[in-house]
């Protein structure tokens, strides 16, 4: 019978990687990124990748390690401000970059997974983002047409998952993972804990198992990009200073 579980990230990616492919990677900043699968892609040496991800990690973690490996040809992102190597590669012409507004990126991915080839949004009308795209009036307002987006492979990270591929995310680590899971021709998920089928509440599953082709339990460093805290003595302060 078909089995979705794999022992390692390398096994989970076996036979799926090829030069020039498009990969979607979940996460927002370093939060909720499939770090085990990214490391396995780094190790595979696959190259000329188009990577769809809201950000591109930091210099030595997350998708940044694929940049360092010279494996990424093009990024489709909304914000890449945290990465110095990115800047160098972009300015030297070694890296292509397509910016999408964050909500447009999220919706393009959702549309791709949902069989919607195109939709209209107000976001970006009258800006660089709308250049070369159809702009159309509905009920007196202008909207720009955006296309659905799919990938050869989606790699996502969840908190818990089961052998059916059912996934549950935790807090803001959900972010782009659920849509990306739907938009990959193949989707591989890594989870912090692989639980027995039946342990996840059926009302609580964020990503139905149908979207997940392979799943592995990983080991997660879960590095924090900007630890921001408030001192204990000023209890009740609504916003603090960065430490």
């Amino acid at each position: 019978m078909v089995t979705k579980t794999r022992a390692t990230a390398a096994e989970a990616l076996e036979g799926l990687l090829f030069d020039g492919m498009t990969i979607m990677a979940g996460g927002f900043g370093l939060c909720g990124i499939p770090e085990n699968l990214i490391a396995a892609i780094r190790a595979s040496g696959v190259k000329d990748l188009t990577v769809v991800s809201n950000n591109c990690g930091v210099d030595d973690f997350g998708l940044g390690i694929l940049l360092a490996g010279g494996q990424i040809r093009k990024m489709i992102s909304s914000y890449v401000g945290e990465n110095k190597l990115f800047e160098q590669l972009y300015l030297s012409g070694d890296l292509e970059l397509e910016f999408n507004p964050q909500g447009t990126l999220a919706e393009r991915i959702r549309a791709g997974g949902a069989g919607i080839p195109a939709f209209y949004t107000k976001t970006g009308v009258g800006t660089l983002v709308a250049e070369g795209k159809e702009v159309r009036e509905f009920d007196g307002e202008l909207y720009v047409m955006e296309r659905g987006l799919t990938a050869d492979l989606s790699i996502v990270k969840a908190w818990k998952g089961d052998a059916e591929g059912n996934l549950v995310y935790r807090k803001t680590a959900r972010n782009f993972n659920p849509m990306m899971a739907t938009a990959g021709k193949v989707t591989v998920a890594e989870v912090e804990e692989l639980v027995d089928v039946g342990r996840l509440d059926p009302d609580h599953i964020h990503t139905p198992g149908i979207y997940v082709d392979r799943i592995l339990q990983g080991v997660h460093a879960k590095r924090i990009e900007r630890v921001t805290t408030r001192p204990r003595e000023t209890e009740g302060a609504a916003a603090g200073e960065e430490v």
Binding site: G126, T127, A239
Partner: protein, 215 residues
């Protein structure tokens, strides 16, 4: 005397109304959370997928799975809930957020906003800014009145690439408050920082405006 960053944030907080759902940008807008009046209950949205954003965590209690859109660690409240980026921007694009307070590089009298890109410099990306200004019901900009160079930021027409066209409702600077009204009426100066004169504001503002100060 021009307003301090905190005074600007406190003025911006007066735009909050009880029951509002609000998205706060990075920088001075983040400080607005410190000045929410006690009789006003607002719910903060973070566009990476959260409603009901709490304060920063105590030292040692940061959770890597719990960050805001500025990638800072935060906490949850008893009323919080989480959702995906697609659902978050459905909320924003669909007009369900009452108020967005954000920074700007330039605002024009016609309500145009530029806050994401300086050509020739490395561009970091627009993140969620274009979606926020396109979708949120009311957009308030909080910014210094002029650049460090002294160049005005309230301009006739934005020279920088736009984030949105005709999207700004109100601008709060260190010198005063302007009713922009998405460019549907002429730009109006409606408040002045204590000790600041209309003449001083005129000298530092490229866009023509009417003084419409309360008596």
């Amino acid at each position: 005397m021009p307003w301090t960053r905190d005074e600007m944030a406190a003025r911006a907080a007066k735009e909050l109304k009880d029951g509002y759902y609000v998205n706060l940008g990075i920088g001075i807008p983040t400080l607005v959370a410190n000045y929410i009046p006690p009789d006003v209950r607002v719910t903060l949205q973070s566009e990476n997928g959260m409603l009901g954003m709490g304060p920063f965590p105590y030292e040692g209690e940061a959770d890597p799975d719990l960050i805001n859109a500025g990638k800072q660690t935060i906490t949850e409240l008893s009323s919080s809930c989480y959702f995906s980026s697609a659902d978050s921007f459905a909320m924003i694009r669909g007009g369900h957020i009452d108020l967005s307070i954000l920074g700007a590089m330039q605002v024009a009298g016609n309500g145009d906003l530029a806050n994401w890109m300086v050509p020739g410099k490395m561009v970091k990306g627009m993140g969620g800014a274009m979606d926020l200004v396109a979708g949120v019901k009311r957009v308030v900009v909080v910014m210094e009145h002029v650049e460090k160079s002294g160049a005005p930021k309230l301009v006739n027409a934005c020279s920088l690439p736009l984030t949105g066209k005709g999207v700004v409702d109100l601008v709060i600077t260190d010198l005063g408050v302007f009713d922009v009204g998405r460019g549907k009426h002429p730009l109006r100066l409606i408040e002045l920082a204590t000790g600041v004169t209309v003449e001083e504001v005129k000298a530092k503002t490229e866009a023509p405006f009417e003084a419409a100060l309360a008596a």
